[in-house]
Symmetry: C2
Subunit: 222 residues, 2 copies
DNA sequence: AGTGGCTAACCAACCGATCGGTCTATTGAG
DNA sequence: CTCAATAGACCGATCGGTTGGTTAGCCACT
């Protein structure tokens, strides 16, 4: 299936496991399924990994590095708010590219494992903690330079952002449309805006259509 | 285990399946596990339900009615905003009572099934659609009477609320603390507030500590 | 009132398939 | 020749599901 050439057997197993776990979860993905997808036999599988669970943990660890690196790269923009916007755009792009199939490995694994498997949960908790911390730091910087409203505590705001994104991905995955996630991200940007003194309600939604940095290809449906 | 007396065998099976599925998901919950929890043997299980999946669907349908009824009951308050606040409080209370174990059946099932099992997904999609519609209606009413800021489209706002709650439940379930969900709900209430003309940033967070209607028992940790 | 028959409800042995995992034999590059 | 890497037969356990048989309560008929 995914069987890319030029990869080592180990890498192909990791890749196949990642793809399948993102769609079905780790529990429902059997060793045989991963083997078949990677074009490998059983003996080979257990030569590279002592157990199914250990492969799962390797998959999580690999994706963790990738994800945290992506966050840092996105947030390292000219201004904190631009960094956050870039991160939003990257996240939306990634899920749009996969057609909203599979969703977020972290959210999925969190809900699948967090009351049953502690090894998996430990890693997932760590990722969310780091993710939230990075967002929190960016928010604090944005508040310091007046780009982000100062009346909301950065830690809570960061947690809210992470929660909304996860929920937005979930809704977009269910609907197989970008709409829900895109809407959540747009609302988050609105929430971050400083409260302008003399601003009156009624004309804030999509105020300047030129300076938007979240790409908005038009959807075919909805 | 849960084996409450006075219930029919069928009800005990539904109950046991609900509890187990909320913690582990439907996939990881075996028929034998449900049988044991309900104090019933295999022959009896398949007398009442033609398959494991059919029991799962019954569980979902039962919880759907319960959940939608709860939403209606909560939103039917003196004012739209009070209704929304009551719904938030009810949701928080429910998850606090279960010690943030198991999370939301709908979010869990969404992520577990939505790219593999279409019967389950169909029900889940319906619940989220109805949930969002009910919130949307309350928001529109709140906007009409000036309780909720008018510059945000009610549909998007409703979707954002649902997404944040699901994400908040996820984070609270991971952390086994009320903090994340509570923070999300508080932020949502802030987001709903009308933009007061002369309000300046800096003193909005937890402004009046007396009129809060979301209960805030103090946490032992965090 | 007694009794034979019917059926909803339950029980437990059993089924093939598949699970995660082991083991031994074989391959092939250095 | 060596040994990392692969192949695939095989293992016990468990999966979802089936089957035949045993209750217990009710209903009809004498």
């Amino acid at each position: 299936m995914s069987m890319k050439v030029g990869q080592t057997t180990r890498d192909r197993l990791i890749d196949a496991s990642y793809q399948l776990a993102r769609r079905q979860g780790f529990n429902r993905t059997s060793v045989s399924e991963v083997m078949k997808a990677a074009g490998v036999t059983k003996g080979s599988f257990f030569f590279h990994f002592p157990s199914k669970e250990s492969l799962g943990l390797v998959v999580l660890k690999r994706d963790r590095e990738e994800f945290l690196t992506m966050i840092d790269a996105s947030l390292a923009a000219a201004t904190p708010l631009q960094g956050i916007e870039r991160f939003f755009a990257k996240a939306l792009k990634k899920h749009r590219e996969t057609g909203f199939i599979g969703g977020c490995l972290w959210g999925n694994t969190a809900l699948e494992m967090c009351d049953s498997n502690s090894s998996f949960t430990e890693i997932v908790v760590g990722v969310f903690k780091e993710w939230t911390a990075k967002m929190s730091k960016a928010i604090r910087a944005g508040q310091a330079c007046g780009q982000i409203r100062r009346d909301l505590p950065p830690e809570v705001l960061a947690q809210m952002i992470v929660a909304s994104i996860e929920g937005g991905i979930m809704l977009s995955r269910l609907a197989k449309k970008a709409g829900p996630l895109k809407g959540c991200l747009k609302m988050l940007m609105t929430l971050l805006q400083p409260i302008a003194m003399g601003r009156s309600p009624g004309e804030q939604w999509m105020p300047e259509s030129k300076q938007r940095s979240i790409p908005h290809r038009q959807e075919k449906s909805e």
